[in-house]
């Protein structure tokens, strides 16, 4: 028997088996289904107002009917180019909104564009975005997908925003509101007790009653106080292996890095920044001119003043009377879980990746 055919067959079979896994590879190489660079949007700057700006452009298509409705105190309905139905309100009588055809039970399936001040009754659900040119007052226990307000926005208690909300004026959320996603304001932002939040940004964010939060000590401290300037050693660093405790009343003039936990006693003043690899506990009345960073959890005692970013990789508790950032020097406070007591003040960004909560003052 001639062994040649069998050898040739074996060689062919082996080559085929070897080539099989390469076939999809060669096909992809030739057809280039997925040969584009990984998409990195060079214009994206992570701006919290990104969606609000996008929605404004989207709502621009309704500028003309809006002007006409406002002039005539009338309403209009229609369809946008993407098929979404809209309702333009030029009359502040909100019974128009509640008419049959605009609502499905207590749900509104329309994009609502209001050219006037809008005060809504309680218990409604808006499945699409709302664009308000005037003041917007949402009724209690209502649910919104997204709101863009060119003036102030006030959400009454137990309301919920599922995606984003932006107010060009002030923003206020009464007790027990849930703000999922992004909430921003170009003015002042106020969140009352029981509010849930994720990402907030405003020149000034107050938890609880704004009038209380700006009282006494904080009203005099729109900037980190400088009445007793401490000569900081620029960029010097004290590195501590293990845990460390800074005694009450101490003045630290350099950056502190601990490889364990860090306890900062009451009334301590740190001219630099502080970092701990473990838990960080900050006592009452502490002033930190730089940043506070914990690779674990952080507890900031009452009436703290922090100048720079405040970051905890696990959880953060902020007691009442604490101020982070200032008018002239806004900052970021961030952790996966944040419990901020009433009467705290933040200038800039307050960002709870998973769950932020305004808790009552004990």
């Amino acid at each position: 028997m001639n062994p040649l055919p069998a050898t040739a067959f074996l060689a062919f079979a082996a080559a085929l088996l070897f080539a099989l896994p390469l076939l999809p590879a060669i096909a992809e190489l030739r057809k280039k289904h997925d040969a584009q660079p990984l998409r990195v949007n060079p214009e994206y700057a992570g701006d919290i107002r990104h969606f609000a700006r996008g929605f404004r452009s989207y709502a621009d298509a309704l500028r003309q009917p809006l002007q006409e409705c406002v002039a005539a105190h009338s309403t209009a309905t229609g369809k946008l180019h993407n098929g979404d139905r809209y309702l333009v309100l030029g009359d502040s009588d909100n019974r128009v909104l509640l008419r049959e055809g605009n609502m499905s039970g207590t749900s509104c399936p329309l994009v609502v564009v209001a050219g006037i001040d809008l005060a809504l009754p309680p218990g409604l659900t808006f499945l699409k975005e709302i664009y308000a040119c005037g003041q917007f007052i949402g009724g209690a226990e209502s649910t919104y997908r997204a709101i863009c307000g060119e003036k102030g926005i006030h959400l009454q208690h137990n309301s919920k925003v599922t995606r984003w909300v932006h107010a060009a004026g002030d923003f206020e959320a009464d007790r027990n509101c849930d703000l999922y996603g992004r909430a921003s304001s170009d003015g002042e932002m106020s969140l009352h007790s029981g509010c849930f939040f994720q990402r907030l940004n405003a020149p000034r964010i107050a938890t609880g009653s704004a009038s209380v939060a700006t009282g006494s000590r904080l009203s005099a401290a729109s900037d980190i106080p400088t009445e007793k300037p401490v000569p900081a050693k620029p960029n010097s660093r004290r590195l501590i292996e293990g845990d460390w405790e800074i005694q009450s009343g101490a003045v630290i003039t350099e950056n502190i890095v601990t490889r364990g936990s860090l306890r900062i006693g009451s009334g301590v003043r740190i001219a630099g920044s502080a970092k701990s690899s473990g838990e960080m506990v900050v006592g009452p009345d502490v002033v930190v001119e730089g940043s506070l960073i914990s690779a674990a959890s952080m507890h900031i005692g009452p009436r703290g003043l922090i100048g720079g970013p405040v970051i905890a990789e696990r959880a953060m508790v902020i007691e009442s009377g604490t101020q982070c950032g200032s008018v002239g020097s806004p900052t970021t406070v961030s952790a996966p879980l944040i419990d901020a007591e009433e009467e705290c003040l933040f200038f800039g960004t307050l960002w709870a990746r998973e769950h932020g909560h305004v808790v009552p003052k004990p």
Partner: protein
């Protein structure tokens, strides 16, 4: 002969486990991005050094991109470090200086030692800010990148920052597509896993930052290093400074489009890495310094990655020799099986890593190219082994190490 082979097999197993650990961590572990949320701050003054040696094809692109970044203009100074260029690099830079008065202060270097580290060292006289960012000239930073790379420096423990490198010229040919996969595995999985596990993310020397006081503390740039980035990573580590990786701070780069350029690039990296291994390896593992135990182990393994190429080749030779020696057949079979098992499972670990990266990047179609990576690995293993041999024999041959610039392929616009 059998015992060295078993030693090598053990080493190979350690690296294999490391690959799996990183991939599983990336897929299922807790992901650390502690500084990426810092979007509002009193941003510090920053100097951006743009290393440019004969970069007429690309330097205008990066300068244009840097003029558009969302960082306070008065706090951002761009310093193109024009290192002895003989093409139109100087002319292009000077055109930008005139067009953007006060924002760009060029450093034109006409002599001195070659190499990026030497050029950066000379340019340090122009740096007055605590935060320094470094880009190679072929990179194209996005609007938010400067802020993202500066943000970690609010942490007083951070001495260095590294962003993610993303190839731009992916679709050119087989090589660029394979390099795209390798980069994805290296950054999306390896670097981020090391960040998650608090190990040693590597400073890449571009899309990167360094704290001036930390740099001064460790003695500045090492102009004798072929890979100043690896050198910097280890000196920072030994001095108790952290290097952090920001996976979401992505920046486009141009990868080599021809195999000779790629081989030169990887040989330089291998030599530089091995230099660092010789300089810091023993001290890192056993010395008295501020690195943690896990940083010591991971840092040493990271230093050894390029040595694994010749070691694997040696293992193949030893396995064959042991098998044909025939004196201890059981040992021989075990050795051959071990090396074969590595070829199957060990290599698969790297494949697993790259596949995981493609999945995390939501680019699933390119996973089909994975089998072709074996050819890139073979080229790399031979190129790196040759680099190691030339490095080891340099004292005998009197060969001098020199810095090879990576050739660019982009068309100037």
């Amino acid at each position: 002969m059998i015992y060295p082979l078993f030693g090598i097999v053990l080493l190979i197993c350690i690296y294999t486990m490391r690959h799996y650990l990183f991939t599983l961590n990336r897929l299922f572990g807790f992901q650390r991005h502690p500084y990426i949320d810092i979007d509002t701050a009193d941003w510090p003054p920053v100097t951006v050094l743009v290393a440019a040696h004969n970069e007429e094809k690309v330097v205008a692109h990066i300068l244009t991109a840097l003029m558009k970044v969302s960082y306070p203009e008065e706090k951002l100074l761009i310093v193109p470090v024009n290192d002895r260029s003989t093409d139109r690099t100087r002319e292009i830079i000077d055109t930008f200086v005139q067009a953007h008065p006060g924002r760009i202060r060029p450093f034109h270097r006409t002599g001195g030692k070659g190499g990026k580290a030497a050029a950066l060292k000379d340019a340090m006289g122009m740096v007055e800010t605590e935060v320094i960012l470094i880009f190679d000239a072929d990179y194209i930073p996005g609007t938010a990148l400067v802020k993202q790379l500066v943000a970690p420096f609010f942490d007083p423990e951070v001495g260095g920052v590294m962003g993610r490198v993303v190839p731009l010229n992916v679709g050119r040919n087989l090589l660029t597509r394979l390099l795209d996969l390798e980069r994805a595995g290296g950054y999306q999985v390896d670097q981020q896993a090391r960040m998650n596990l608090r190990l040693v993310p590597q400073h890449g020397g571009t899309v990167a930052g360094v704290r001036l006081s930390a740099l001064r503390e460790i003695g500045g740039w090492n102009e004798n290093s072929l890979t100043e980035d690896t050198d910097l990573t280890y000196r920072l580590l030994l001095a108790g400074w952290k290097t952090v990786y920001q996976n979401r701070s992505e920046c486009y780069e141009e990868v080599p489009e021809t195999w000779p350029v790629r081989i030169k690039q990887i040989q330089r990296w291998a030599k530089g890495h091995n230099q660092a291994l010789a300089n810091y390896g023993f001290r890192l593992l056993f010395g008295k310094h501020l690195a943690t135990s896990r940083e010591r182990v991971d840092g040493f393994l990271l230093l050894g990655v390029y040595m694994m190429a010749p070691i694997t080749m040696l293992a193949w030779i030893l396995a064959l020799a042991v098998f044909y020696q025939g004196t201890s057949p059981l040992h021989g079979i075990i050795a051959v099986l071990s090396v074969t098992a590595y070829a199957a499972v060990g290599n698969f670990a790297a494949f697993f890593e790259i596949a995981a990266a493609a999945r995390l990047d939501s680019t699933p179609e390119r996973i089909r190219l994975l089998p072709l990576l074996i050819f890139a690995f073979l080229v790399s293993i031979v190129a790196v082994s040759r680099a190691v041999v030339s490095q080891l024999t340099a004292p005998l041959t009197g060969a001098q190490f020199h810095w090879d610039k990576t050739e660019r392929f982009r068309s100037p616009s």
